[in-house]
């Protein structure tokens, strides 16, 4: 890549207590890129995302955003640096209205005009959210909740949007709609780092992909090239395609 990365991760190690989950993860996201991370359950994807938003302090390695090292940074520092994390399971504030959920995304911003404009932009992007803005977020369907969660992330005006499990538990129609929206968001210049269990969906969406297995990056490259790579079948089903047949 010729552009300098906006997010770069070098030899990251992390875990919970003495349980090591990430052994050695290095990756880069350039400005405006759409990158996906694929790997099986337990490979360390969510742990990686938690490190990238400051929820978990890595035990070794470094995270650099826009040239600034993020050692000891709090989640708020990550938000300020331009990272927004849409967590696995959406984690909306369920008994709070949709509008208030979106406004929570802009918690650290003080530009009232910009916040109002972004709110309108999100409502335009997801009209259903505008329609139901006074309802509690918990009343939304799964797909709508994911829209709200992505909208909440975008309200922080991020430069990189982290999305953990875009399609988990959602109907195919909703996934298509969300994927389409992510393309549009990406086209406005927001880089996206996506963790996704539906391999083909992820690879069709992304420019580049990383395969993570047992806390290590085992493969990376242009997304389309990876689709037919045997490493993917192995990472997901623990079996190579040859063994499957």
């Amino acid at each position: 890549m010729s552009t300098t990365p906006i997010l770069s991760v070098m030899s990251l190690q992390a875990g919970y207590g003495e349980v090591r989950v990430l052994w050695d993860v290095s990756l880069e996201v350039a400005a405006g890129e759409l990158v996906c991370i694929i790997g099986s359950n337990g490979a360390g994807k969510t742990t990686l995302m938690r490190c990238l938003s400051g929820l978990l302090q890595p035990s070794a390695g470094s995270i650099v955003i826009d040239g600034r090292p993020m050692a000891q940074a709090t989640p708020a520092d990550f938000v300020r640096a331009g990272i927004a994390h849409v967590p696995e399971g959406r984690r909306l504030f369920s008994a709070m209205s949709i509008r208030d959920n979106l406004l929570m995304g802009a918690y650290l911003r003080t530009d009232k005009v910009g916040i109002a404009a972004d709110l309108e932009r999100i409502y335009a992007m997801f009209p259903i959210l505008a329609e139901r803005q006074r309802q509690d977020a918990g009343t939304l369907s799964g797909g709508e909740q994911q829209m709200c969660a992505i909208g909440r992330g975008l309200m922080a005006a991020p430069r990189v949007l982290l999305i953990d499990e875009l399609s988990l538990g959602l109907a195919p129609r909703a996934v298509e709609l969300l994927s389409e929206t992510l393309r549009k968001v990406n086209a406005t210049g927001v880089a996206i780092l996506l963790v996704e269990q539906d391999v083909m969906n992820a690879l069709e969406l992304a420019n580049r992909a990383y395969v993570i297995d047992h806390g290590r990056v085992t493969k990376s490259g242009p997304a389309m090239g990876l689709a037919s790579d045997p490493a993917i079948c192995e990472a997901y089903m623990g079996l190579s395609k040859a063994e499957l047949q």
Binding site: N41, G42, D198, G238, L239, L244
Partner: protein, 250 residues
């Protein structure tokens, strides 16, 4: 063959979410059954229903002739149904030998604490943890804690043992060791249900597979048949992947 465990239309809702939806299958005596499915498919919830941690909202579970559908967990355990947890749950500040002794004391056949400790030491021998016996459980590595879970469950003298992701987070050598122990347990005639996301592991030890997806049972049968099933591949890798790789579908 007689069924040791029978699930009949078992369901569990959490609010509007059907975590387990009308699941029925049998497990026969001395069988090793692999329970598989992608992330979030309801495997652990199903185990929780069988062991009484959550009551089923519909359906029945029978174990060895007893209806255990809405029994308290400790009663089900005393009938001979033991489990390990995906997130290992030792008694952290008790020693390794005490953890295992607890299984022997309350569910196995130890008559007092002293005897339970003696029995526990045998199981620690069996699982290769004898050296660690007097250390607090919380100080063990993950791999050893998983083995401790096994030892604790074995001390309960189960007839049916359910292993929830005993290999998650382990490296290949540790997995081999764990599998060897599971095979030894099976040789003693204990019926085993293995929850596992590593297909290779499941295939190598299971007699039969049961596949869950979105809380529903989508396939069951011999391992070879199940892994070639189109719905199973869809569940794991997505519909598009399955469609684009006709070689693996039937």
């Amino acid at each position: 063959m007689t069924a040791l465990l029978t699930l009949d239309g078992v369901s569990r809702r959490f609010g509007g979410l059907k975590a387990v939806d009308d699941v029925s299958f049998d497990v026969n005596e001395s069988e090793i059954v692999g329970l598989i499915g992608p992330n979030g498919s309801g495997k652990t919830t199903l185990i929780n229903l069988i062991t009484g941690v959550h009551p089923a909202t519909a359906g029945h579970v029978h174990f060895d002739g007893h209806d255990i559908t809405r029994q308290r967990p400790y009663r089900i355990a005393r009938l001979g149904l033991a489990r390990t947890f995906q997130i290992v749950q030792p008694f952290p500040r008790m020693t390794v030998v005490e953890n295992v002794a607890a299984g022997a004391l309350f569910c196995g056949h130890a008559s007092d604490v002293r005897e339970a400790r003696a029995i526990a030491r045998e199981h620690l021998e069996f699982t290769g943890l004898a050296d660690m016996a007097d250390r607090p459980a919380a100080t063990l590595t993950l791999a050893r804690r998983k083995r401790l879970e096994l030892a604790k469950s074995l001390a309960m003298r189960p007839r049916l043992l359910m292993l929830d992701e005993v290999n998650a987070g382990l490296n290949p050598t540790e997995i081999e060791e764990a599998l060897a122990i599971i095979r030894k347990i099976a040789e003693q005639g204990v019926t085993i249900i293995v929850i596992e996301h590593l297909m290779k592991v499941v295939l190598s030890i299971s007699h039969r597979l049961v596949v869950l997806h979105h809380g529903q049972l989508i396939a069951q049968g011999t391992p070879r048949k199940v892994v070639a099933d189109k719905r199973v591949i869809e569940a794991y890798l997505g519909a598009k992947y399955a469609a684009g790789n006709p070689g693996v579908s039937n």
